[in-house]
């Protein structure tokens, strides 16, 4: 049970479901009974073409409400119990969608992760899927049911309920699409698709009709959270074409996400993204010794904390080094606790955190090997007097960390510098 999602071997290979559509609706799409009615109509319409497997998130604010309830019972709810509690959110929404389909005369059946057998590792609050039993699913579909599956949740081999963490329902949808051999997975959400920048921030932002998995992963990791990068990576590994579509404009085409092999690389920079949910953490003045960074990373990995933009700086005169990285704000507390435990053991002087940061990134399949791009970014920000706290580059992205208050201005300037609005 230690295989990860991306290396999962579903039992799908012999059980593909012919011509099946997998469609996923997020929490805003099923926020209330009126919207559930609307969603049911989309599903019923699609079921005229062939079998449909629906994945649904919890209604609107249900998860937040449940988290709040839990916080009234305990300051640190045990993750196992919290997962058992949170999973009811999707159990409610799948039954209501199914009942609404019934009321429309459409045959349907709701299934929880436990009922299907969406098996995950025994990790709570951010479990990865390791295996999916599709026999029950296939049986229900073959009996002409639209199957409505609870997203976000899984079950361990011992029958404990797990949740998949951020982007969980997207991941459920893609994993099921892979398991059933679906060629397309539609992610219905409350926006028109994927833009080359946040249209709420940058007025010239344009909708992309098609992007590659890799570009979306970078955009998503950098804060453009229309679809979770984890789900996109899974889709890439199983070659599932994704379509991001607007629930409230079902006739719009949205954005297709696929391998992009036959796309000409016409865009050097495909988008700009802002992520304000990050914090910077540093552990300072560690006496240099082999394996220090590894020990720190392992301790954080053991707590399932995802880190990014790792930088190690070595001061030759003192012989001390410091390690700085970014983490999601929700992980800051755990990160500091973990590093503080390590501090004395490693002989470090201090653990610091800085919540006042934002990542501004540009993404593009054509970025690699074009040093001119970085020059444009740095000089654009420099001329505007925006200070860069950290910089990192990779195959298809360039990220700078700036003060939160500078993020939108920086993104607008970059968007303009690369003429993304034309």
């Amino acid at each position: 049970m230690t295989k990860s999602e991306t290396s999962q071997k579903t039992k799908s290979t012999n059980h593909k479901v012919k011509n099946i559509s997998v469609v996923k609706f997020g929490g805003t799409s099923v926020k209330n009974i009126g919207r559930i009615q609307h969603v049911a109509e989309i599903i019923a319409e699609r079921s005229k073409i062939g079998p449909v497997l629906v994945v649904v998130s919890a209604m609107g604010d249900t998860t937040d409400y449940l988290v709040k309830l839990a916080s009234h019972c305990s300051n640190h709810p045990e993750p196992r119990e919290l997962d058992q509690l949170l999973s009811v959110g999707e159990q409610i929404s799948i039954t209501l969608v199914t009942m609404t389909l019934h009321a429309m005369g459409v045959k349907a059946r709701s299934l929880t992760a436990h009922q299907i057998g969406i098996f995950t590792e025994t990790v709570h609050s951010k479990a990865r899927i390791v295996d999916i039993e599709i026999d029950r699913l296939v049986k229900a579909i073959e009996a002409n049911n639209i199957v409505v599956v609870a997203g976000f949740q899984g079950v361990t081999q011992d029958g404990d309920i797990t949740t998949l963490g951020r982007g969980g329902s997207d991941t459920t949808a893609v994993a099921l699409a892979a398991a059933c051999g679906a060629s397309v997975c539609d992610i219905y959400t409350d926006v028109d698709g994927i833009y080359n920048a946040d249209p709420n921030v940058i007025s010239g932002a344009r909708l992309l009709p098609r992007v590659s998995y890799a570009e979306v992963v970078e955009m998503a990791r950098l804060g453009a959270q229309v679809i979770h990068p984890r789900a996109v990576e899974l889709a890439r590994n199983y070659n599932v074409k994704l379509r991001v579509r607007n629930t409230f404009k079902p006739d719009h085409e949205g954005t297709v996400i696929d391998g992009g092999e036959d796309m000409e690389i016409v865009r050097t920079v495909s988008g700009v993204a802002i992520d304000k949910d990050q914090a910077r953490v540093a552990i300072l003045d560690i006496p240099d010794q082999p394996g220090v960074a590894g020990k720190i990373m392992q301790a954080l990995a053991d707590k399932h904390i995802v880190i990014d933009m790792i930088m190690q700086a070595f001061h030759p005169t003192s012989g001390l080094s410091s390690i700085t990285f970014t983490v999601h704000q929700s992980d800051v507390k755990d990160t500091i606790a973990t590093l503080s435990e390590l501090k004395d053991k490693l002989g470090a002087s201090e653990v610091l955190s800085d919540p006042d940061i934002a990542k501004v990134s540009i993404i593009g399949a054509g970025l690699a090997g074009q040093p001119g791009i970085a020059a444009i970014v740095f000089s654009t920000l420099g001329e505007a007097g925006i200070n860069m706290k950290m910089i990192s580059t990779s195959e298809m992205k360039l990220t700078v960390v700036v003060a939160k208050g500078d993020a939108e201005k920086a993104a607008k300037l970059i968007h303009k510098a690369f003429e993304l609005d034309t």
Copy 2:
């Protein structure tokens, strides 16, 4: 899977848990976070003596809220989906109770019916338990956990969620007590115990320190719904002693319910009960032929409709007979639909229903063979001008059906006539 609860063979015989207490808390006891805190304190206190298995209902009005949500999606929610929806009520309450115990430093673990394996027949909304796997339960208890189990729910062999219907959580508690070999099952509720009449209606009503299973079954069937008769019958079959106690007065002894073998029969009449949730249904002028009553009863049984006070009247001149009985108000619609289908087949003239009825009953182990009792009841009501629409008697009860508006007056007069207030 056709065995009933009362004939269930749990796998308990080889898996008794030494010295275990089974305690059940109803919806009003866990109505809000404050009450859950209080309940957790009772549980923690009891866990000092030995292992505790807790059964919890859904919080306060959760079930009603969920039923309402469902009704907005469909006028006739499919029972399978409704059960899948309603079961979240208990899933929420067990996790909150467990988290609260954790916050108090007490080891605990919540388990749903699916997780334990509380198997029922494949009938929705009123399934009966057929088998309980206690391996997982025992394992959790042996790891020193207080186990907090979702009442009211079960699971079929196919993994579909079922609910047990009225009194479901009481039934879960007793079934688990039987499966674990517990000698006592405490039913915590919002009243002090079992009274010889409804204290809200009859001011002289007295708390009974001890009653027999049989008397409670009769009282409960007749509307004194402190504990569901189904749970009491299960307790009788497995010789589980029940204690009905007040959650808000945990030091009070409440009422013990047991076989009563060593009780002297000192009470001729042990209580008076009112049930206003009944309706009278009749099918009229059926041409007499063998097996008519059987056909009608079978058709109702197939729909899982429980009927009571069956009376068949034969008119010698016309050769026609009529059958009258009472059903719970919630079953009236289904009952009429079922009878209407049968009407033409049987050649009957009409199906009638009368919702304006109430049952007033007296219960007592010493009732049998004391014709003077009935005389007192009939003359007491007659003198007060209260019309009796139906009468039925059995080993330890006597029931009269009166107009709803007369019920309380009738109960008060009878209570006084038998000096139950002294």
